[in-house]
Symmetry: C2
Subunit: 358 residues, 2 copies
């Protein structure tokens, strides 16, 4: 459909194929730490105004690629577009994160939910994917994404960020069947949404399970991982005759990596609390791993950043097929872009030694 991919290092690493160096990108790489992003954001108005205008979403998606030697672009959007399309009314207040005008309060609120049509209510996302893919012109692959059903449910029931997740866990504990009903419709919506992104040009997709880590092990398996598995089973395996790798990231999920490795994903995101050596032993040869530098390291001095990059590469170890370098969570909004560059350049400098064969 478009130009051949000039840099497929990232896609190959996700499939555990040999690469010459470790590919690198950053969660939230198109974002507030970049002055050029803040300029476009000011022009756009609100955060949602920026998300819903494909030309602007495309512009900010490409910004970090102009600065840094990154191996992937990620669609600029939000994990909560699906509930917004379901009518919950998403907005962002400065410093407080997402807010829903109409959170789920009753069983009837849940029962009337329907999976949105991605090419209708979420058309602005698909248009952005198409435009970004065209603008990338094969430079690097494009990542599509969605929040996981459990993570969407957290925000939809709480109405925004939460300290204790008391409302959504209350639903889970007291009315598990109703919670399953909610997660079921969200799973259908997420699968359709990710498949539409693949059809529109996303070359890999990532499921962000930001709040899976607040659950007990047992509940994680039933209410988060189970739905991640159903989504992966419903995803288009290929596009343009090439495998579309899937990435699953549960923040705080280090204890569950071995279970996650059997959920139908090609790669797992790992946060910084789990050493990549431990993660690699847990998942054996089943999946690739993506991570895991503590985002706070980017506040440190350049020499510290370089040392921590080396340590992260060394933790994954030699024969490093199947490692994608990333932060262990999104880049923080007031990081100096020069520090992000130090990290990325250090991956370019130090990682080839881990891929020498023979």
């Amino acid at each position: 459909m478009t130009a051949n991919l000039q840099n497929d290092c990232f896609l190959r690493a996700l499939l555990r194929e040999p690469v010459e160096r470790t590919p690198v990108w950053m969660m939230r790489q198109a974002g507030r730490y970049l002055p050029e992003y803040r300029r476009v954001r000011r022009q756009a108005g609100s955060f949602m105004d920026l998300c819903t205008q494909p030309e602007l979403a495309c512009e900010v998606t490409l910004q970090p690629l102009e600065r840094f030697r990154l191996d992937a672009a990620i669609l600029f959007s939000d994990i909560l577009t699906i509930p917004h399309a379901m009518g919950l009314g998403l907005s962002f207040s400065e410093g407080e994160g997402p807010r829903f005008a109409h959170p789920l309060r009753t069983a009837a609120d849940i029962q009337r939910l329907a999976a949105p049509d991605p090419e209708n209510e979420l058309r602005y996302v698909m248009d952005a994917v198409r435009l970004i893919r065209r603008s990338l012109n094969g430079r690097v692959p494009l990542i599509g994404f969605s929040g996981s059903p459990w993570t969407l449910a957290c925000y939809m029931v709480e109405g925004g960020s939460s300290r204790d997740y008391a409302k959504v866990k209350g639903l889970l504990y007291d009315q598990p069947q109703l919670m399953h009903q909610l997660l079921e419709v969200l799973s259908q919506a997420v699968a359709a949404y990710l498949n539409a992104q693949i059809a529109a040009g996303a070359q890999t997709v990532m499921l962000f399970d930001t709040w899976g880590g607040v659950l007990s092990s047992e509940d994680y398996r039933e209410f988060s991982l189970g739905y991640a598995r159903r989504i992966s089973a419903a995803l288009s395996p290929e596009a343009d005759g090439r495998r579309v790798p899937r990435i699953l990231f549960t923040k705080g999920g280090g204890q569950w990596l071995s279970d996650m490795a059997d959920a139908g994903y090609d790669a797992l995101g790992v946060d910084w609390t789990t050493p990549l050596s431990v993660a690699r032993a847990a998942v054996t040869e089943r999946v690739a791993l993506q991570g895991n530098l503590d985002p706070v390291v980017l506040y440190a001095a350049p020499e510290t950043i370089r040392r921590k990059v080396q340590a992260t590469l060394a933790q994954f170890g030699h024969g490093a097929s199947g490692h994608v370098f990333n932060l262990g969570h999104g880049i923080l909004p007031d990081v100096d872009p020069a520090h992000a560059e130090t990290m990325i350049e250090a991956v370019h400098e130090f990682s080839p030694a881990y891929h020498v064969h023979g």
Copy 2:
């Protein structure tokens, strides 16, 4: 020194000795969810006014024992009394948690810190311990406690609660030697403080490492667990001719339980993200375990609470010496006390079956 202990079920379980049923207490059991606590708190004025008046601290410590069949009392105090005694000026703002008027900003701020004398600057805590121990009159054992050096450092450097721990991690990443200097003086202070509590009558002590879980594995070992180990080595092993068990709790530390089991503690706290079956396999016969019901379960219906208590007991399993039932974190401030009672009574009802020998 005082009356014989009438109920030593808790102390025996911490030492993995046989008991007839699983002992139970709740982190933050003396607190805002109790109307009688809120009444005393209002009379006292600020939270620190309550902490620093031994008669009032004693009164609220005993309140939950009047309501519930608990197997331990825990000193009513705060984890941040040591930095307050070091001159940082602790206060609590409604809904925002602790604040230090004078957070650590420079190397000189750290270098001038000195471990406080527990019987001088922290005399109010020791007086409370003595008074509570006398008032308990052997009914149940009294737990003393402190924040861990790493957790104290988090608050002292950040100045309060934090989202990303950017300042304290910045210190750790860029100036590890200075961070070690800070943790060293805090370790001396914590050891002296806990030993003074033991001398004043605490029959077991608990180290709360609330923020150990935000570190990478490697940094957790170096900057948190290493100091927990040094503290345990410095603690008085006995009082009144009886072992004083030590409990270590790192919230979010499920991945590190096996390492923690070798740090010189008799028992480890476990949060709800790690199943007790997994925790038990990780620590083998080395330590007892304390936990781990999700505090949010107490918002659920009584039948749900009872079912979750049963599931938690079953996860630890039969031959249940070495299990202390607790929440996986502090009780939430707006829980209905009747729900706490449901939990406690369910432990009394269901746990004897796990202790049948034969």
